[in-house]
């Protein structure tokens, strides 16, 4: 059985999976049509697998913001594979390409990497970080809603004391999700707000505390130090916390996303990524690059503006979404 069939069967067998993949298919309609469309174009145009073909393939992947280094690695591996299996026809290459993409994403790990680390009988702290304007506060609102739906008692801490209107924005999301927001005034010390949040969450025996932070560009050393301090405060108050440090990434971001992931990891040891704005025409290929170069998994994907539009990230569904056109065409 070919790789594509395996992928297809995965979603045929299980109805729940089918539902997940439908959501991705819907959310990533634009992404998919452009990406797999391009691969199809490419394959139609080139009948022989030669240097020009690989060069063009390289471009297709780069256009998906996959990241230059990752693309280079992928192309090298493909070239090897093509030689090894003596593939001359571009149609056969298609299978190898998608297989490699999934392989890059999972590596030696299994799907466990996408699970959120929530403790059973203890307060779990989630610290949310990222550059300006990626959608941290919005993602927190959606995540709070989702955890609440799962029966968790959630508290939010308004750690973005810098941007005008940020506290109010989180409060609106808190209302929508029906969870409490711990806050201080604008301009107060974020570490102090988070400290308050921990105290409050502990005293009301909440299950999850989600900490918002101000957006900051990763090259601002002072601001990154401030973030490290916030994390230290959490570590000091609760051993083993924060249980998750989620980096929110805008899917429209290009190669700089790698810098973001690297620098935020250095400061706060990022455990997972929330990939937002995947409902646009951006390709989200950066996910592969970050997994490949930094080994950080994606845990959630933002697929729209509604409070329910945050999905558990599922790389199979993601790749299925990318390649759905190709898969269906073969039936």
């Amino acid at each position: 059985m070919g790789f594509m069939d395996k992928l297809k069967n995965r979603f045929k067998q299980n109805e729940e999976n089918e539902e997940v993949s439908e959501k991705y298919k819907e959310g990533m309609k634009k992404t998919r049509s452009s990406f797999s469309g391009k691969i199809n174009d490419l394959i139609a145009r080139y009948r022989k697998v030669d240097e020009d073909f690989f060069e063009e393939l390289e471009e297709v992947l780069i256009t998906a913001d996959v990241g230059v280094m990752t693309v280079m690695d992928l192309i090298d591996e493909l070239k090897m594979e093509v030689k090894r299996q003596n593939i001359k026809d571009t149609q056969e290459v298609k299978e190898v390409i998608s297989e490699k993409l999934v392989e890059i994403y999972y590596g030696d790990d299994d799907e466990e990497i996408e699970q959120l680390n929530i403790q059973k009988d203890q307060l779990s702290v989630i610290l949310v970080v990222g550059v300006n304007g990626v959608g941290k506060t919005t993602s927190i609102g959606k995540l709070a809603h989702q955890l609440k739906q799962d029966g968790k008692d959630v508290v939010l801490a308004a750690g973005d004391t810098f941007r005008a209107g940020a506290i109010e924005q989180l409060e609106v999301w808190g209302e929508r999700a029906g969870v409490d927001v711990i806050k201080q005034g604008a301009g107060s010390d974020p570490a102090a707000v988070i400290f308050d949040g921990i105290k409050a969450a502990k005293s009301r025996k909440a299950d999850v505390l989600i900490c918002d932070t101000a957006g900051r560009l990763q090259n601002k050393v002072n601001l990154m130090n401030e973030l490290a301090k916030v994390k230290r405060v959490i570590e000091r108050e609760i051993p083993g916390a924060p249980h998750e440090v989620l980096l929110v990434l805008d899917a429209t971001t290009g190669q700089n996303a790698l810098n973001q992931a690297k620098t935020f990891s250095d400061a706060t040891n990022v455990t997972g990524i929330v990939l937002t704005k995947l409902d646009g025409s951006a390709k989200g290929g950066i996910v592969l690059a970050i997994r490949n170069e930094l080994n950080i998994p994606v845990k959630y994907a933002g697929l729209g503006e509604k409070i329910t539009d945050l999905q558990r990230f599922d790389a199979h569904a993601f790749v299925y979404g990318l390649f759905a056109d190709i898969l269906e065409e073969e039936e």
């Binding site: 090259n219 805008d250 810098n259 170069e293």
Partner: protein, 447 residues
């Protein structure tokens, strides 16, 4: 990481061809491949890159490069010229209506920085052009967006017009215009909600807004970190709204900003301003040529020179250079130099502008913490005159006194003394290098 400037990228190829009497077509091909990768790494859209490479190849294969003595440098020059031409000239003027108020409309994706830019633009209009703008809160969708603009208005002490979240943005804008006329505001800046270029309903709303208020300027606000998708976004907004200009935000980050080139190429509309920080006075005129350098990873040499020229007293600089050469550089000079450097702006900005700074040993991962500078300053200021002139007299009790006086520790004082010593050594090397033949590793690609 994956980010190398063009100059570094070309090093390998250049090494191969130096010493060769002639540059072959194969060499040029290799060089243009490196150029291509450098541009792609900088997030320039691949179609834009393709066109550029075609033109660069034509010029490179011609006499211009192949017969030059320094083909590598020549390729970089050709690339930069092409990029600069594509980026166009400078256009940082804002339109002024014959009959006020001038209406400015902001548009863009979510999180691009429209609201912040609205505040910055208003501040610029007042400070530089002595105008009195009215800010209009038309983002009725994002929670607390109106509150955000109102807070900015308070900070700037400027009026903000809002009607809550239940009114249609078009109606809000209309009412705001009436109010502006009544109260004699000469500019009206309309903040709108972020939206996806694919969302036809919201895009239609923008068009309706445009048709109602007839703005004199429509700025598309774009995040400088945007990847390949920048072309799609810019194209869609431009098609629907016929924008008049672009504001590139978050340029104070460490992104190469190739999106700038992509946007210019697909819309042919000028990039007028650049957001350079979170504070409300950090909106600057956009300099296309410097952007070209930045995309190529050659550092913003021009900006650096300009900053240095305005801030460093030339006579003092000459004195300093002499002192460096004669090794009579003291802590007093160091303090003075620090003051001059600090007046140029945040240090990491300056570092980013020095070409090859990221390649220099020791500087590669240097993270500059401005707070540490304050410590350094305090330590030096706690020294006696004699100690500053001649650090060699430093002993344990002196160090203890200095540490106490500056609120630091002896180990910090020691560290500074050691760094100062190393710096002096480095200076000696540098001045020797300048005297000798072309400095190895220190020559700037364009100087």
């Amino acid at each position: 990481m994956a980010f190398e400037g063009l100059a570094e990228r070309l090093q390998g190829t250049i090494k191969k061809i130096t010493g060769k009497g002639k540059v072959s077509e194969q060499d040029v091909k290799e060089m243009t491949r490196e150029v291509r990768l450098a541009l792609l790494e900088a997030d320039v859209n691949f179609k834009v890159v393709k066109d550029l490479i075609k033109r660069i190849k034509e010029r490179a294969v011609g006499q211009e490069v192949m017969e030059s003595l320094t083909p590598g440098q020549q390729v970089i020059k050709v690339v930069k010229e092409e990029l600069t031409e594509l980026m166009g000239g400078e256009h940082s003027k804002i339109a002024t209506a014959d009959r006020p108020p001038t209406v400015v409309m902001m548009a863009g994706l979510q999180g691009a920085g429209k609201t912040t830019t609205t505040g910055k633009l208003a501040n610029l209009l007042r400070k530089k052009y002595n105008r009195s703008p009215l800010l209009v809160a038309c983002d009725v969708y994002r929670p607390a967006a109106i509150k955000q603009l109102e807070t900015l208005g308070q900070q700037l002490n400027m009026p903000v017009f809002s009607m809550g979240t239940d009114t249609n943005p078009v109606e809000i804008a209309e009412k705001a215009l009436e109010k502006a006329k009544e109260e004699h505001h000469d500019y009206v800046i309309i903040d709108t909600a972020g939206r996806l270029h694919l969302d036809s309903e919201l895009m239609d709303e923008l068009e309706q807004l445009k048709n109602t208020v007839n703005p004199h300027e429509i700025f598309l606000v774009v995040d400088a970190m945007t990847g390949q998708d920048a072309v799609n976004v810019a194209e869609s907004f431009n098609e629907q709204l016929d924008i008049t200009g672009v504001v590139l935000t978050k340029l104070d980050g460490d992104t190469r900003g190739g999106a700038a080139l992509s946007i210019k190429a697909v819309t042919d509309k000028p990039i007028k301003f650049a957001g350079m920080g979170e504070k409300l006075d950090e909106l600057e005129a956009f300099h296309p040529e410097r952007m070209a350098s930045r995309i190529l990873g050659m550092g913003d040499v021009l900006s650096l020179i300009e900053k240095a020229q305005t801030n460093v007293d030339e006579k003092k600089a000459k004195e300093l250079e002499d002192k460096m050469r004669t090794m009579s550089f003291t802590f007093d000079d160091f303090l003075e130099q620090m003051g001059q450097v600090k007046s140029m702006g945040p240090l990491d900005d300056l570092m980013a502008m020095i070409p090859g700074a990221n390649k220099m040993k020791g500087l590669k991962n240097a993270q500059i913490d401005e707070k540490q500078l304050v410590h350094v300053e305090a330590i030096i200021q706690s020294m006696t005159k004699k100690e500053r002139q001649d650090p060699s007299i430093m002993n344990a009790s002196r160090k203890k006194r200095i540490a106490k006086g500056s609120g630091t520790s002896v180990s910090q004082v020691n560290r500074l003394l050691k760094q100062f010593d190393e710096m002096k050594k480095m200076m000696k090397q540098m001045t020797n290098m300048q005297k000798g033949k072309k400095g190895k590793g220190m020559n700037l690609p364009f100087m």
